[in-house]
């Protein structure tokens, strides 16, 4: 056992960054990477009582992207909801790259290659990924089983599937794959619904909207504003595709039952909630009861959110579900669930109790902590590596604030809540950054982009530049990241990793879904607090095969390939 570490050099002179002097922090050029990191490491970590957890580093790290979504002079529904992107290692070099979706702004979608240590370069040209659609959400997985990560883009308009050809180039295979649904797509998730070894695809659709059906909505003082989705009275069905294993998909929305319920789907996660070995689907609907599609086998689903207690809150309110995250928050082995909602509504935090959900929003302190903001991207992530999940929410209103002089009347600060194992408490400075910017934030992508063991956040803001929030939390604990691969060498989506940490069994899933319109770091991350090692790490692949590693050292990224099975020391068969 060791004491908690202080990570990163403390350059006392750069504390002047607080007073706005240039040259420190992110305003200067990127220094060469060193073993310890790069020069924009935490500078003022010991200078304040409550040091920032994150440092905004997009521009100096090479992320030049601005999301624009204006369609007309007066409000149009699609303008207020986009902000998607993906963390993916498209070239399998061990560094997470970024794919960011554009809506109406110049340049289309952009692919940024991570050169190492979280420094990026725009490699869109020639990549085949400069899709010009109105981008909404992204899902990532190796749909064709060739070992590299492919990309599905849900658009407002026809969706797109891009096959990764392994040489930094993607090919638009939408038509031959048969996944170009023309609706108002939002989030998407790849998951193996039928256990045949290849990922099927679920796409949420938001509203059956067209410019001709736009309405004129005003707030109570008459200001023209965006309409809530319920005003259109046009919910729509989600789409579910079966992967046929030959590069094509078949729309099985009707046969599977998915098309039987209409909704206003935004966020989605595909997780085995009832522990029957089949992955279910939770969909956050905006202003309508949420859906829980319980997998009955044979590609049949039954909507059971009401029966299982996760359709509405305890008083019956169908909230404006946006982002969703599912992790085993209480370490009892089953996945819990959080849905974030509109300002004036709290989050909905459900503890999974054997496939039934108990609303624990208020008792966890999330009721008052969350209700003032309109939350979109969110994630249960252990940012301080203390072994307990924290919660980040990217916020921004959908109805203008009452401040008539606001530059951006939809802007709000993001929210960072620290988990203490029982309750969630707001972190100061708000959102974990100092200063706390107010933006109209949407998607949030969580991952370790500089492979330093701290979970970073990429936030997409409407009408603003992307933010790259590097984790600079000075008192982070130890960590372990487990990169589980399948037989083809791609991330083993659907695998579970269980770590023995201080007498608890902590479970994390290999997954890319969750949050809002975004695809996440597929690696399993464990905060270890003061531990130097953990006694046992068990990996279960989707096919049920397992591998147990003993005495695993902390502070490393552990790649575990499929093939080897059994019980062994951590040094064997891993990279």
């Amino acid at each position: 056992m060791r004491s908690w570490r202080y990570i990163g050099p403390a350059l006392a002179g750069c504390a002047t960054a607080l007073s706005g002097l240039a040259g420190c922090g992110d305003s200067g050029p990127v220094a060469p990477a060193t073993e310890a990191g790069v020069s924009d490491e935490p500078l003022d970590a010991e200078a304040t009582a409550d040091p920032a957890w994150f440092r905004e580093s997009a521009a100096p790290r090479g992320l030049d992207f601005r999301l624009e979504a204006r369609l007309a002079e007066t409000p149009r529904l699609p303008e207020i909801v986009p902000g998607g992107g993906a963390a993916l290692d498209f070239d399998d070099d061990g560094w997470l790259d970024l794919y960011l979706l554009q809506a109406t702004g110049a340049g289309g979608n952009r692919l940024f290659r991570n050169l190492g240590e979280g420094r990026f370069v725009d490699v869109t040209e020639g990549s085949g990924l400069a899709d010009g659609g109105f981008g909404m959400g992204v899902a990532t997985d190796d749909y064709d089983g060739d070992g590299d990560v492919d990309l599905f883009v849900a658009n407002f308009g026809a969706d797109r599937l891009f096959r990764n050809d392994g040489d930094g180039r993607f090919v638009d295979v939408t038509d031959e794959a048969g996944v170009g649904h023309p609706g108002f797509g939002a989030s998407a998730a790849f998951f193996d619904a039928d256990g045949d070894g290849d990922p099927d695809l679920y796409v949420t659709n938001y509203v059956d909207w067209s410019d001709a059906t736009e309405l004129e909505c005003r707030n109570r003082t008459g200001r023209l504003d965006y309409c809530p989705p319920a005003r259109y009275d046009a919910p729509t069905a989600d789409v579910f595709y079966r992967n046929d294993g030959d590069g094509t998909f078949t729309d099985v929305s009707e046969e599977s039952g998915i098309a039987s319920a209409l909704g206003t789907g935004l966020g989605v996660v595909a997780v085995d909630f009832d522990g029957d070995g089949r992955r279910d689907v939770f969909v956050a609907n905006d202003g309508m009861p949420d859906h829980l599609w319980v997998n009955q086998g044979d590609l049949r689903f039954s909507e059971q959110a009401m029966q299982r207690g996760c359709d509405r809150d305890l008083s019956g309110v169908a909230k404006a579900g946006m982002g969703v995250s599912s992790e085993d928050v209480d370490d009892d082995g089953d996945p819990d669930l959080i849905v974030c909602n509109l300002g004036g509504e709290s989050d909905s935090f459900y503890l999974n109790d054997g496939g039934r959900f108990l609303d624990a929003t208020n008792r966890s302190g999330l009721g008052s902590a969350s209700r003032h903001f309109t939350r979109f991207g969110l994630g249960f992530v252990d940012f301080d590596n203390d072994g307990i999940l924290d919660l980040y929410a990217a916020n921004g209103r959908v109805g203008a604030s009452d401040d008539p002089d606001a530059t951006d009347p939809y802007a709000e600060p993001d929210l960072l809540l620290r988990g203490d194992g029982r309750r969630y408490l707001p972190v100061r400075p708000a959102g974990g950054t100092d200063p706390t910017p107010e933006r109209t934030s949407r998607g949030a992508i969580f991952g370790d982009f500089d492979n330093d063991g701290g979970q970073d956040v990429v936030v997409l803001d409407l009408g603003g530049p992307v933010r790259f929030l590097r984790n600079v939390m000075p008192t982070r604990g130890g960590w372990l990241t487990v990169d589980v691969r399948d037989e083809a060498g791609a991330p083993a989506i659907g695998a579970e990793v269980r770590a023995e940490i201080d007498g608890r069994t902590v479970t994390r899933r290999i997954r890319t879904d969750s949050s809002y319109l975004t695809a996440q770091d597929p690696r399993a991350h464990f905060g270890l607090g003061g531990l130097d090692s953990i006694p046992s790490l068990e990996i279960t692949w989707p096919d049920g095969s397992t591998r147990i590693l003993r005495d695993v050292e902390a502070d490393r990224i552990l790649r575990v390939d499929a093939g080897d099975r059994g019980d062994e020391s951590a040094s064997a068969g891993v990279r």
Partner: protein, 493 residues
């Protein structure tokens, strides 16, 4: 209390609340010259109390603007009257301007520090803004000042629940329940807290008597259903949840209701029109619409409201005459099509047999509306009615089936579906639907009458007659009884 103690002047235009200064601004507001002008000199600030005036007043909804200006003028004439300040605060609060409302309640409380109502509403405004500490301080003071009032206690309890302070919340909610005149919102709040505390049995104990005495309290049915789910009483839970439908527990209180009654925007005024019309005061409703047209111009919502009033007063011919103009101007709007379908059907049904052309127009209008808004259950229901009126019961059943898909918690659609199935010649399917209804919603006369008519098709006349008699005893005036009686007599539904 004189002006000197009224320390609410601002030296500059407040960015946060968007206020501009001083009584002088009233003149500016009245002439629609709002905003952060350069005339707010410090002299005028020192000399006169300021009135919280929105800098964007010019852009306000015409009806709200008119009310705000009137309230400001009243306040200028009575600026030491705490009630006048509070009333302006109410107006801002009613229109989602909590920051301005807080300024008004601040002023009111400076003049009358023990004012309970403005303090309560200021607490609400603070809570709305996420200023939870301020909200809490205010509501605690309200409870001190007026310990006999119940709604501040259960309201505070609700806020404590959000903060995760469940024990303290339960204590406060309990304190709001004071027999013999029990505030039922206190009971509902306590029940909800018990559920949050993981004490579903206590929740059930509180709510079962309540829903027995108030069976239409659907919000409480929902909470009760969730409690019984937790207790594993799944069948009972399912029934409560279906009865609840899409209802939610709402917690209105006298002061907040008063505030919300101050809404003066177009949407609120159109609700008033609808209420008048629902009360058969159609002429008043039309007069209101005329004044709204003058105030707002020819807005489509106002034109649509006129169609609604025409339909409510039974002037279907008038509606059918008026609707084409709105349809022409708003071709992508489904609602006028639905009103057209409704009136065309009413006119067609006014003769026996129903007028074929009228039915056809109703079907066309409903289908056009559905194409524009496929998720609108109203359109499918109207289509089902129109098709059924034309004798196309098989197609009508499909339309009602769509209603059930879209709105599974509405019992009426299940009855409509079962009836259409029986009429289309499929009594077995009809009985299956009413069996499910009995299970999910509890037994009802509506469903039983459909069952009786389906039994007629099976030739089970005696059973049909027995069911009819049961229904007659339970609800002698039910409109479905004569029809079922006739079906039994002629041997077909």
């Amino acid at each position: 209390m004189g002006n000197a103690s009224l320390k609410i002047a601002r030296s500059v235009c407040s960015r946060r609340a968007g206020t501009v200064l001083a009584s002088t601004i009233i003149v500016a507001a009245a002439t629609m010259v709002a905003g952060c002008g350069g005339d707010g000199t410090s002299e005028s600030v020192e000399a006169r109390p300021s009135l919280p005036t929105p800098s964007d007043l010019e852009g306000y909804d015409a009806g709200v603007r008119m009310e705000v200006i009137a309230a400001l003028q009243r306040l200028e004439a009575a600026e030491t009257d705490p009630v006048a300040w509070s009333r302006l605060g109410d107006l801002y609060l009613a229109h989602d301007r909590p920051a301005l409302a807080i300024e008004c309640y601040d002023a009111s409380l400076l003049l009358e520090p023990d004012g309970v109502r403005p303090r309560y509403l200021r607490a609400w405004a603070h809570h709305d803004q996420g200023a939870l500490d301020e909200a809490r301080a205010d509501i605690e003071r309200v409870i001190e000042l007026d310990p006999g009032a119940t709604h501040p206690k259960w309201r505070a309890a609700g806020w404590l629940v959000e903060a995760g302070e469940l024990e303290a919340a339960a204590t406060l909610a309990e304190a709001s329940i004071t027999p013999p005149d029990v505030d039922l919102n206190g009971v509902r709040m306590l029940a909800s807290i018990r559920l949050d505390q993981g004490r579903p049995e206590d929740c059930v104990e509180l709510l079962e008597p309540l829903v027995r005495s108030r069976p239409k309290d659907r919000g409480s049915h929902y909470v009760l259903g969730r409690a019984k789910q937790m207790l594993g009483r799944t069948e009972e839970a399912a029934r409560h949840l279906r009865l609840a439908g899409d209802a939610r527990s709402t917690f209105g209180d006298p002061w907040l209701n008063e505030v919300m009654a101050r809404r003066a925007d177009l949407a609120a005024r159109l609700i008033t029109v609808q209420q008048r019309s629902n009360e058969d005061r159609h002429d008043e409703a039309m007069d209101l619409l005329r004044s709204l047209s003058e105030m707002y111009g020819p807005r489509r919502e106002i034109r649509y409201a006129e169609l609604v009033v025409l339909a409510n007063r039974g002037d279907h011919a008038g509606l059918l005459e008026a609707v084409p103009a709105l349809v022409e101007d708003e071709p992508a709007w489904a609602l006028p099509r639905f009103r057209e379908a409704q009136s065309a059907l009413a006119v067609a049904r006014a003769v026996v047999p129903p007028d074929v052309e009228g039915v056809s127009r109703a079907v066309d209008a409903a289908e056009t509306g559905i194409a524009l808004a496929p998720g609108a259950v109203e359109g499918h229901e109207l289509l089902g009615e129109a098709l059924g009126t034309g004798g196309r019961w098989f197609e009508a059943a499909e339309a009602y089936r769509r209603c059930v898909d879209i709105a599974p918690f509405v019992a009426r659609h299940h009855v409509q579906l079962a009836d259409a199935l029986a009429r289309s010649g499929d009594p077995m399917a009809a009985v299956t639907v009413v069996d499910a209804m009995d299970r999910d919603f509890g037994r009802s006369v509506d469903a039983a009458l459909v069952r009786a008519r389906a039994f007629v098709l099976f030739g089970r006349i005696d059973e049909a007659r027995a069911i009819l008699e049961q229904c007659r005893r339970a609800l002698p005036g039910h409109p479905g009884i004569p029809r079922t009686d006739a079906a039994i007599r002629r041997g077909r539904p």
